[in-house]
């Protein structure tokens, strides 16, 4: 993957609606050719960020730099980026063909060029032959593809996608994820994608930006976000996890629920309270006495790929995933490898704690 210079810079963006702050001094850089996902619960400010990029919302403060130019006050129709709207926003009075041709006609392209482009775009989204249909008669997935086709024929440098798969059913959503990755690679442009679905974000993105309450919580590759969450909110929001209060005894040694565990993190200081994240699939079950803790299985559910169990040990209900089932009541041991223990600083202020607890 070739990632080069910054294409977009959001600088100190602040926006409030009716006195409620939605974005607070947000700074974000987006590279050329990147698939960047804004991920967060509803109301976290991700959609507002996207609408600021599209030009539909003007920030109260801050600047939007696009390709070296300040476009903060440029109206949407003058911006070289296109949006795929959440509910597609296809023009109901126009055919598929007319919808796709809309932007090209406005920019005054020749009929032959427009015709070629429509063919190309429809082929790209696997809907050739649908030119004369009315969008209202198409299925959700098909409307979605038309909306994408309508946006990309204008050859934008950036495609903004606002929860575009939200209205589709699970199977279709998974298919469309692969479609989008393929499309992005074929087009070679920047995708900025908004979703509240962590799985979607991890599957498709080069970079994931986790947002909550108008702040960026963490930005990184999907692996970084999943394996090394920087705070409890991110750990909790991305996948299942056990989040436990713990004390950092010294570098590479942490005490969890009265038991000392070796770990790989350092630099937190000695005897410092921290949060610890252990993913349920990283906990190792064994016969009593073979691990660092002993406990009792309290719940078992079959999940298809694995069993999900709850194990009561040292006063904490651990979420454990394993391919092997242990019946309820079984005495087991629990252990975890040092590199699977993720240490995080406690939230600095009460404010941040509130943010974490809120979710």
């Amino acid at each position: 993957m070739h990632l080069s210079k910054n294409l977009i810079d959001l600088v100190d963006i602040t926006k409030s609606w009716d006195g409620t702050c939605v974005l607070d001094e947000l700074n974000l850089s987006i590279k050329e050719n990147e698939f960047l996902t804004l991920l967060g619960p509803s109301g976290c400010g991700k959609s507002t960020t996207l609408r600021i990029l599209g030009g539909f919302v003007t920030p109260d403060k801050g600047r939007v730099i696009f390709d070296g130019e300040d476009i903060t006050s440029l109206p949407p129709n003058k911006r070289n980026l296109n949006t795929v709207f959440q509910k597609y926003a296809l023009f109901p009075h126009m055919t598929v063909e007319e919808n796709i041709a809309f932007g090209l006609k406005i920019s005054g392209k020749s009929d032959a060029y427009i015709k070629d482009k429509i063919q190309y775009a429809l082929k790209l989204v696997n809907l050739d032959g649908y030119e004369k249909r009315k969008p209202t008669l198409l299925s959700g997935g098909q409307q979605q593809r038309i909306a994408i086709a309508r946006a990309i024929v204008n050859e934008p440098k950036v495609l903004l996608l606002d929860e575009p798969l939200g209205a589709l059913d699970l199977k279709l959503r998974q298919d469309m994820q692969y479609e989008l990755i393929r499309l992005k690679n074929e087009l070679g442009i920047t995708f900025i994608y908004v979703t509240h679905d962590q799985e979607e974000a991890l599957t498709m993105s080069d970079t994931v930006v986790v947002m909550n309450q108008g702040y960026i919580q963490q930005m990184g590759t999907p692996e970084q976000i999943y394996n090394e969450p920087e705070n409890a909110f991110v750990a909790d929001f991305i996948g299942d996890s056990n989040i436990i209060d713990a004390t950092m005894i010294q570098d590479e040694l942490v005490e969890i629920l009265g038991v000392k565990f070796p770990c790989v993190d350092s630099g937190f200081g000695n005897n410092k309270p921290v949060d610890v994240v252990i993913r349920p699939e990283d906990l190792i079950l064994g016969t009593p006495g073979t691990g660092r803790m002993d406990g009792t299985v309290t719940h078992v559910i079959f999940k298809g790929v694995h069993y999900e169990m709850e194990v009561m040990a040292n006063g904490f209900e651990w979420l454990v995933q394993s391919t092997k089932a242990f019946p309820v009541g079984t005495e087991v041991s629990l252990d975890v490898d040092p590199y699977n223990i993720q240490i995080m600083n406690k939230p600095a202020s009460e404010d941040e704690k509130a943010v974490a607890i809120d979710e």
């Binding site: 539909f56 809309f102 204008n154």
Partner: protein
């Protein structure tokens, strides 16, 4: 389930007795002469120069008031649809309110203003402008009809405009459309159904109108509505009145069919 169907029974009897049957009676009268013999004379009577002139005047005035209403109401509905939040409900209500005010009352109010020694001329005289003899002219009838039926044009267009998804306007802007282009290519075509029902709601009452013509036009101008009315009230030639009524009805249904055609055509070909 079958018992539930019976609940529609009284209305079905009512509809047969008071919607279908009366129209059949009109048809019967229209197709017979004074002696009860079968005749097409009452239909052909529309070609009588006086009747043709009345029909022509009616069409002209109805067309005029429809066009004026549309030109006035369309921008108004557009502006109103842009207003959002607390006060907008009341503002729209104020524009719809005249629909609910007794029709005769509004005619009376206009009569007061337009008459030769009425308020308009008093105002013009005060400003030393030439007095206007609007009363008892086609202009007076045109003003009267436009004034009376304007709210019926505003409401459906406003409703259609409000139904337009704001996302569509965002999408148009996103694809490079300026305000004018968005208006021409999104708002106008999507508000068309409202325009069509507005036109129907203004044109149909206008073309058969006789009371406005009677009060504001004096008895000088005869519209087809006046002709029909007089056949029943003055001449007691019910056969002729019925025949002309049916001709009027046919005119209305033809114009409605044309309007509906326009609507579907527009949908099919607009680019």
């Amino acid at each position: 389930m079958n018992k539930r169907k019976l609940l529609a029974g009284p209305y079905m009897v009512w509809a047969a007795g008071f919607i279908i049957l009366p129209l059949l009676i009109v048809l019967y009268y229209g197709l017979t002469n004074a002696d009860g013999g079968f005749s097409f004379a009452n239909f052909i009577a529309i070609t009588d120069p006086m009747h043709l002139k009345a029909l022509g005047e009616s069409l002209l005035i109805a067309f005029g008031s429809t066009v004026i209403s549309l030109v006035v109401a369309y921008p108004l509905a557009y502006i109103l649809s842009k207003m959002q939040g607390g006060k907008s409900g009341i503002i729209i209500m104020m524009f719809i309110l005249p629909m609910w005010i007794n029709f005769m009352l509004r005619v009376l109010a206009l009569q007061m203003i337009l008459s030769n020694n009425g308020l308009l001329n008093a105002l013009l005289g005060f400003l030393h402008l030439p007095l206007q003899h609007i009363m008892y002219s086609k202009t007076a009838i045109l003003i009267g009809m436009t004034y009376d039926y304007l709210p019926f044009m505003i409401l459906p267009i406003y409703n259609a405009m409000c139904k337009i998804d704001r996302d569509l306007l965002d999408a148009a802007a996103d694809l490079g459309a300026g305000r004018l282009q968005s208006f021409r290519r999104i708002i106008i075509p999507l508000s068309l159904p409202g325009v069509i029902s507005g036109i129907i709601m203004v044109f149909i009452p206008s073309i058969s109108e006789f009371a406005i013509a009677d009060i504001l036009g004096g008895s000088k101008i005869l519209l087809i509505g006046n002709v029909i009315e007089q056949e029943f009230s003055l001449s007691s030639n019910w056969n002729l009145g019925s025949g002309l009524s049916i001709v009027l009805m046919i005119f209305i249904f033809i114009s409605m069919a044309i309007m509906n055609r326009t609507e579907t055509d527009e949908e099919g070909t607009s680019v």
